[in-house]
Amino acid sequence: MKTILKQSLLAVMLLSGWYACKPNNAGNASSGDASKAYVAPGKYDEFYNFVSGGFSGQMSVYGLPSGRLLRVIPVFSVDPEKGYGYSEETKPMLNTSHGFVPWDDLHHTELSQTNGEINGKWIFANANNTPRVARVDLKTFRTAEILELPNSGGNHSSPFGTENSEYIVAGTRFSVPPDNSNGDVPISSYKQNFKGHISFISVNPESGAMDLAFQIKTPGINFDLARCGRAKSHGWFFFSCYNTEQANTLLEVNASQKDKDFIMAVNWKKAEEYLKAGKGQKMPAKYAHNTYSDVTHSATSEMKTEVVVLDASVLKDICYFIPCPKSPHGCDVDPSGEFIVGSGKLAAIIPVFSFDKIQSAIAAKSYDGEYEGIPVIKYEAALYGEVKKPGLGPLHTEFDGKGNAYTSFFVSSEVVKWNIKDLKVVDRAATYYSVGHLCIPGGNTRKPSPKYLIAYNKITKDRYLPTGPELSQSAQLYDISGDKMQMILDFPTIGEPHYAQAAPADVIRNNGQLKIFKIGENKHPYFADGEAKSKVVREGNKVHVYMTAIRSHFAPDNIEGIRMGDEVYFHVTNLEQDWDVPHGFAIKGADNAELLIMPGETQTLKWVPNRVGMFPMYCTDFCSALHQEMQGYVRVSPAGSSTPLSYSVGKTAPSDSIKSK
């Protein structure tokens, strides 16, 4: 017995010594310390990481610290895997004033907040190309709502939110002639005809429903990024601006002429006052508002026709410009709300502005005149100080809540950690390669969780096994719990990661995650409440199939009497009420996609047969040992054929079940 005890203890010491107390020296910083990013099989990650999918139009969700891909949420692009944008129910989600738009470019994500902390309810995302903002419900990890934005072009400065998600903002990158004016003007008339618009989208604190509360009309310049004031600066919003030269061609030269562009400080509480006082102008506009219902399992698209606009050059005390060196990109506010960090893409310093000083400057009118009717605060009057020689090409800054800021440097491919108070650089870490955005969980809130920092890179090159000319994107994870940043993981992502946010896992997983849709609450107009309710109904040349799916058959699974010229709608209800038992549905020759139907849900695939013959249909999502048996046939006859409409399940000679109306 004693020997056994000794032996097991020895084994224990050896094992734990090897695995748990591996020394962390500087030598393995470049090769990584994989054990810190290791999450054992069956264990969960500590954080959810919501990463923008850039030109894929989607949002990807990773676990941290493992870097495991948990889900890709379709937002602005169709996704045949999930039937998103292909099923009749989801098509209206991608409706816009330009019609159905199947793709976009998603750059930034923003978790909803209460009192400046992540509340785990929703995450917002922007569409850069055809300007829109989406809300994803974090109980379902699905896109719940999409709102189009009028008077905008290139919705880049978006979807950043306030401390209680009172508003999500959307600043236009391109200034354009307003939608209600004649846009058929010479491009060279930029200075006269082009205007900027900043949208303030209100968010219902209970339902999350978005509404375009108002827009602020600004001079024609480019808006880039934005951050809300927090704590002491709650009620303000800060936007980086470039192209104050108002160039309309070769911006890389012509928009880089001036020594300083601006950060625009917006007093949105004041804007609310003007709105209440009726100072807003109702302008005609056309923009889509799309919402998805988890009860009808369907989206509806409404076209809005009006927007309230406040003119910043007339209503003087809403907007103020603060000079900021060299085409600022990132504009980030620290957890205390006092420091606003501007990052001039082409600057050799990082200016840090003080909220208190900005307030004093406004009170004392310490202005350098006006820019197109908007006061310009004197640079020194707003400046707290400058970080000298931090690196090349500063872009974005995140905060750890312990007095440090972390700024990404695109040109010198590094993350630089600096102290907010004394503005001294304290650490540097290389990235591979050309880092864009950074993310610290809660890094844009009052209370960051400063354990990890993730760098999202623009260039991948040789980081992974080569895959031809096109490579995955690259992200790197750093442990920032100590004094020195330490890279612990290098993981590929879907294209293209711009900004990302992360939240402690418990904030999301304990938010009332939905596992199934309760079948008793299904209000889909073509819901089949049990297999006995499955049927096929002809209405002229439209044929509606009320179909059910359960492991492992469809009902009906034999359909005859479909004729050329028919439009067939398969309304498939998944009767399962257990977690993680979706069924798929596909039919030969369908020119759209499959359906993927969650338990308790009804989804519809439209199918227009293009030839006479026999068409197999089957379940695409491996559902049980008899998944390969989950199949059926649709017989298509010539137009005008006398083959009666019939359907069945479990019978080989259907004859008694003909229905039409």
Partner: protein, 163 residues
């Protein structure tokens, strides 16, 4: 021997925890916020094949000798949505076995437990495991409430001829 080995393991765990990652909450060894997935391999030693496994037993489940027609009607409606795709009310097997006679083969508490808590019972009950070899489809958890389950039981009793 078992005990000593367990103690050794415990010491091992404690050691792992104390050494993991320099003071701050360590990501790897400390389970994070995670939990291990439920084992598919069950401990059948404490399993009662008459009662099954779940919240119902002879004490908390009172069954009248006569049929409650209202409950049976409600049960029939629920089975139409959640059960009938796989179970016929005759003896004929569809995906799962037919329901005819089930209330004579099983105790009420076994039925109630099985339809509200199928997964552990599929793992443990020898007769269910034998049935699985025939049907090859694990009966899904259809998220029945206690009332749903009671009403379905009443419908099964009616189906077996109880008045």
């Amino acid at each position: 021997m078992k005990k000593i080995f367990a103690m050794g393991l415990f010491a091992c765990m404690a050691f792992l925890l104390s050494c993991g990652g320099g003071g701050d909450k360590s990501s790897n060894n400390e389970a994070s916020s995670g939990e291990a997935p439920k084992s598919m391999v069950a401990d059948a030693s404490s399993y009662d094949p008459k009662r099954g496994e779940g919240k119902f037993d002879a004490d908390n489940l009172k069954i009248e000798a006569t049929l409650n027609a209202e409950m049976a009607a409600s049960g029939e409606k629920i089975q139409g949505t959640k059960c009938a795709s796989c179970h016929k009310t005759t003896e004929e097997k569809l995906v799962g076995p037919g329901w005819k006679g089930v209330t004579t083969r099983r105790t009420p508490q076994w039925i109630m437990n099985f339809i509200t808590n199928p997964d552990p019972m599929i793992d443990k009950d020898p007769e269910v495991q034998a049935q699985l070899e025939i049907c090859l489809v694990r009966m899904p958890n259809q998220s029945l409430t206690d009332d749903d389950a009671r009403h379905i039981l009443e419908f099964m009793r009616k189906n077996d001829g109880l008045k």
